[in-house]
């Protein structure tokens, strides 16, 4: 479904700020995989998601989505089959527009000159109700009035309104309070399971990394140092994971936001 072959990316090449963010990375995801990614600061987790989404073109290597070479496809074209959420809840929706207008953009049905119909609104209302945040009764309010958690939930709904082939989640619950984070995570799980969306999720919560999905990657220095799935992963504890990381890289996992327990 997603095939990444030997990609590398260096930011600011030839300057003092030169940073090799990803080097010679390869990865294969099967349809319906739910992969969690953990790693040290600056390991290249967000860069990997950016490369897949097309925020920049890679220096070397190739990326295939559903058998098609998308290495040089611009971001807005890739977005048709890729949904993406960032840590910052303000990034995914337009604050000066209403909830229904944001959803209309995400739904993207009809031609350029089509208007929102009553059927569209009914559809938006049903989907908003699934969030259990009361947003279905505030559809004509502007998104700027929502809380961070509500905005992130809305962004999730927008990103998955037309189920994408691939969902990229970049610590999308990290900036939310624990209660809201739990809720957004539950909705994420439901949406992903319902539509069997292939998902890549960066997290700083070690427990989450093992309990969610079917496969866990650990990254360090722009590469994948650990890739566990199946039975091996099922019996793993957070301690096992940390020990394996240290054995693999010779260093302890160093992430200033990492959560070792729930």
């Amino acid at each position: 479904m997603l095939r990444i072959e030997h990609i590398s990316k260096t930011f600011n090449p030839g300057t003092v700020n030169e940073k090799k963010a990803i080097s010679e990375l390869s990865l294969r995801l099967e349809k319906g995989d739910f992969v969690t990614i953990i790693g040290s600061n600056g390991a290249g987790k967000s860069t990997l998601l950016g490369a897949i989404a097309g925020s920049f073109f890679t220096d070397e290597g190739a990326i295939f989505l559903d058998g098609r070479d998308v290495t040089f496809q611009p971001e807005y074209q890739r977005s048709k089959s890729i949904g993406r959420l960032f840590q910052d809840p303000m990034r995914g929706s337009a604050p000066g527009m209403t909830i229904e207008e944001n959803l209309a953009l995400a739904a993207g049905s009809g031609g350029w000159f089509s208007h929102m119909t009553r059927a569209d609104r009914a559809r938006f209302r049903d989907r908003l109700a699934l969030l259990e945040m009361g947003l279905e009764d505030r559809m004509r309010q502007s998104v700027g009035l929502l809380s961070g958690g509500q905005r992130q939930a809305l962004t999730l709904l927008m990103a998955t309104f037309n189920p994408p082939k691939l969902l990229l989640l970049d610590e999308h619950t990290a900036a939310l309070d624990p209660g809201t984070a739990e809720k957004v995570l539950r909705i994420t799980r439901e949406v992903v399971e319902e539509h069997r969306i292939t998902t890549l999720m960066v997290t700083h919560n070690m427990h989450q990394a093992l309990s969610l999905g079917n496969r866990t990657l650990m990254m360090a220095d722009g590469g994948i140092v650990l890739d566990v799935s199946g039975d091996e992963r099922a019996g793993m504890t957070v301690e096992d994971l940390l020990a394996r990381f240290k054995a693999g890289t010779g260093k302890a996992l160093d992430n200033d936001r990492i959560l070792l327990s729930e």
């Binding site: 925020s55 971001e75 977005s79 303000m90 000066g96 527009m97 207008e101 209309a104 009809g110």
Partner: protein, 310 residues
Amino acid sequence: MSLDKLLSLGQTALELGLVNALTVLALFLRYSMLNLCDLSTDGCFTLGAAVGAVVAISGHPWLSIPAAMGAGLCSGFVTALLQTRLGVESLLAGIIVNTGLYSINIAVMGGASLLNMNKTDTVFTYMKELLKNSPLGSQFKLVVALIAVALVVAFLTFFLNTRLGLAIRATGNNPDMVRSSSINPVFTTTVGLCVSNAFTGLSGCLLGQMQKSMNIDIGSGMVTIALASLLIGATVLGRGGICRRALGMVAGAFIFRLVYTVALRFHIPAYMLKLVASVIVMLAISMPYLRQRWPELYRQLTHRPGKEGR
């Protein structure tokens, strides 16, 4: 002042206000919606006036309208091209196009810097002919301006609620979101600037034909005047749907013109108009900032240095 005089003052303000409102609506589309301050407004306004005048003088008054709008659209396209494809900063792109347009405008006017339309058939003279025997006979200028504004407001209300319109608004409202979505910001910015500048061109065309003359300076300072009107309009009717806000822009243009016309009555010289516009824009933009800074400033001003370590 007699009631008659007052009414005629109001009428002049209304006519000029409505024609200017077209430029304000154009600015509304790119400043309030796309969040771009296009400084090519002055040149584009003059371009519309020049093309409109030349086409009308050559005997095609009706054709002058689409011609002026088309010219404005092309100018908007060039501005968009500079900032989306050639990496020129948005403000600079406007200034560059504006400078270039000065030469183009004089070329359009055939090397002259003044065109006289005293004996030319224009959309206004056509309307005058049409309304000759109706009670609206003496209001032909107002009727033309009103029709144009109504059409543009209706169009904007329709357009900004289509999927394309929503995409344009999102581009201005949250560029981060648009960059990682399936909207191509290059496309939305280009369409927005083209449509917006077409209205600026229309505005210039109508002002030239209404005044029956146009000179190369007809558009100078227009961007500030339009911005002042926009800020007034946003204060009067800034919240709510697109239609309401667009009508607010028309109201803003009218209020600005009214203030100006009244000021003229009180013997403030006409050349002060642009200073008034500048001061309004300056105040409208700096007030929220100063209000926010005030507590800190106040504390600094009232701070009395205490005795050192007691």
